[in-house]
């Protein structure tokens, strides 16, 4: 049973259903690997008792042939997502001891599929960051190279898959927080169309951009996870009432007739040469599989990052207003006035990047600056979305690009320069501004053996074409088979 961690979700399903191993054995294996990989710092909280109890229930169900898609399979959850009875810290000192009294809808959905939750993964505090270094519980190490960042903000959720601790996880993506760590860790992850997945119980960072999505070791696993997560939720007014297709259905179809757009604004100077060539080779591979490649232009790409760093902090400053230290979270002692209590509780509890974004958001929403910054950014946001609308209306079905300009960077190399850190998300942020689905799939390695991801962006609600394209690519190359399991 030493290689259980190398099996895909599909193989695990077969193995569990054929009684080749039990959920208890699988869960114990996962917990043992988690325990022997603590140096990654990828988990904030591991929950062996809860996991083993769930595994026992799953084994009973398997025995009774009462099996759902994830029955008995260990998963880990980004610690931004509320789990009843299990601490949810958001990687913030403010919520160090917070235990949610209810589950997020996505957790209810995973539990309805009888998944086994083994713990909560590390992240950038409140999902604000691109390196997982903004965590009150310390940075996560990249399993491919422990001197490198795993990406962020869903860095823990990516690292635990890359290290072979669990097969699939939940992440969240506001500006690239699923796709960028997937690219840095050589796994797959999808940000669904805005509104596809409920955000109820997911700690809000920037509500008009946030979306939950799955992360996994391969595209088929990703589709299985996505099937479990989607659907209208009466508890989230922004979730959309659309029938959820079976995302595994089109996997294996050929790519004949598929038009792949290559935006010139995403292949700019400053991209690491190996990243550029890996992505160009991946596009050639799509061409050899039957796709047609067309050059496209998204002229407002350069405005996306500054637009994001107005809109996201504005929404964050409003969302994080609820952290007042009174009903939950850190409460400062010795404060005589309510105002002091608010200010001190927040100042003690929040890290530097969170403070930075709350301040920026407060400023751009403040009287006298609202029009110049926030309203202006909302208008530029429409320009960014119009660019995508135009090319998807007439030129192409998917867009291919790098996920990030470089491979994983050194720990501590960018923390003191927020703008350099922000620019890391230059290719992922436009997608959130436009609310589109996009995924990352492994497409190579640089000379230092650091992973490179192919970014595929789709039309709204067309995750199926994205997954079909990524699956065809993955099956025709060896990149996803390479691992760094120890």
């Amino acid at each position: 049973m030493t290689n259980l961690h190398e099996l895909s979700l599909k193989q695990l399903r077969t193995g569990l259903d054929n009684k080749e191993f039990s959920s208890k054995e699988l869960t114990e294996h996962s917990l043992a690997r988690i325990a022997s990989h603590q140096e990654l710092n990828a988990f904030i909280n591991v929950t062996p008792e809860i996991a083993l109890a769930a595994a026992d229930v799953a084994d009973q169900k398997i025995k009774n042939k009462d099996v759902k898609s994830l029955t008995g399979i260990p998963l880990a959850i980004k610690d931004l997502i509320l789990t009843k009875g299990i601490k949810t810290t958001c990687a913030s000192k403010f919520l160090e001891n917070f235990v949610a009294p209810y589950n997020a809808t996505v957790i209810e959905k995973l539990l309805a599929e009888d998944a086994v939750i083994v713990g909560k993964t590390n992240l950038d505090e409140f999902a604000m960051g691109s390196s997982n270094e903004n965590s009150a519980f310390g940075p996560v190490k990249n399993p491919w190279n422990h001197t490198k960042v795993p990406g962020g903000s869903s860095g823990g959720s990516a690292a635990v898959i890359a290290a072979g601790l669990v097969r699939a996880t939940l992440g969240t993506d506001t500006g690239g927080s699923i796709r960028q760590p997937c690219s840095f860790c050589s796994i797959t992850g999808i940000k669904p169309t805005y509104g596809r997945v409920s955000r109820y119980g997911v700690t809000a960072y920037a509500s008009s951009l946030d979306q939950v999505g799955p992360m996994a070791g391969n595209v088929e696993d990703l589709a299985v996870m996505l099937n479990a997560l989607c659907g209208k939720d009466p508890l989230d007014a922004t979730s959309v009432s659309l029938k959820t297709p079976d995302f595994t259905k089109n996997l294996g179809q050929d790519l004949k007739g598929l038009r792949v757009g290559m935006p010139k604004e995403y292949f700019i100077d400053g991209i690491q040469a190996e990243v550029r060539s890996a992505v160009e080779n991946a596009v050639k591979q799509l061409e050899s599989l039957g796709a047609t490649v067309v050059p496209v232009s998204l002229p407002n790409t350069e405005h996306a990052v500054p637009t994001y760093y107005i809109i996201a902090p504005a929404e964050a400053s409003s969302n994080l207003g609820r952290f007042d230290g009174i009903r939950f979270g850190n409460r400062a002692t010795g404060c005589e006035t309510l105002e002091d209590l608010y200010c001190e509780s927040r100042s003690q509890g929040f890290g530097i990047e969170v403070k930075r974004r709350i301040m920026m958001g407060t400023y751009v929403l403040s009287s006298g600056y609202y029009d110049a910054y926030y309203l202006k950014a909302q208008k530029v946001r429409r320009l960014v979305k119009n660019d995508f609308d135009k090319v998807f209306a007439k030129d192409c079905d998917v867009i291919a690009s790098p996920v990030t300009p470089t491979t994983a960077f050194d720990l501590n190399s960018r923390v003191s320069d927020p703008i350099q850190m922000y620019l890391n998300d230059i290719f992922t942020i436009p997608v959130n501004l436009a609310g589109l689905p996009a995924l990352s799939v492994p497409c190579g390695f640089d000379q230092n053996n650091l992973p490179i991801g192919l970014h595929l962006i789709g039309k709204a609600w067309d995750e199926e074409t994205l997954l079909k394209t990524a699956f065809a690519y993955e099956q025709s190359t060896e990149w996803s088979k390479k691992n760094c399991y120890k």
Binding site: S208, L338, D340, M359, K376, L383, A434
Partner: protein, 100 residues
């Protein structure tokens, strides 16, 4: 358009954001704030004549439902995470002047 905000101006924002003006790294925070502000100011050059603002990617509309009772948190659950409670209340510093 942007210029650096003075320390006093940034302190005002810190207060509006309900953070502490007694921060340890105040100078660094002010410096970072001004750098980011100058960076996002690139948008001032973008022409947005006749462009409507986009607050949300999907059409938003009101959602109505019947006013019926549902399950919510119990008082105990709602008070589970507060650190200063008194019975079924949360204790806070004095808000309204007068007899306490």
């Amino acid at each position: 358009m942007a210029m650096n905000l003075s320390k006093e101006e940034v302190l005002k924002i810190i207060f509006l954001a309900r953070l502490s003006t007694k921060e340890e790294n105040l100078d660094q925070m002010i410096n970072d704030f001004n750098n980011v502000l100058n960076y996002v100011d690139a948008l001032s050059k973008v022409n947005v004549d006749n462009i409507e603002p986009l607050a949300h990617v999907h059409e938003s509309y009101n959602i109505y439902r019947e006013d019926v009772c549902g399950n919510g948190l119990t008082t105990e659950e709602a008070l589970l995470n507060t650190s200063d409670r008194s019975g079924s209340f949360i204790r806070v510093p004095l808000i309204i002047e007068g007899e306490s």
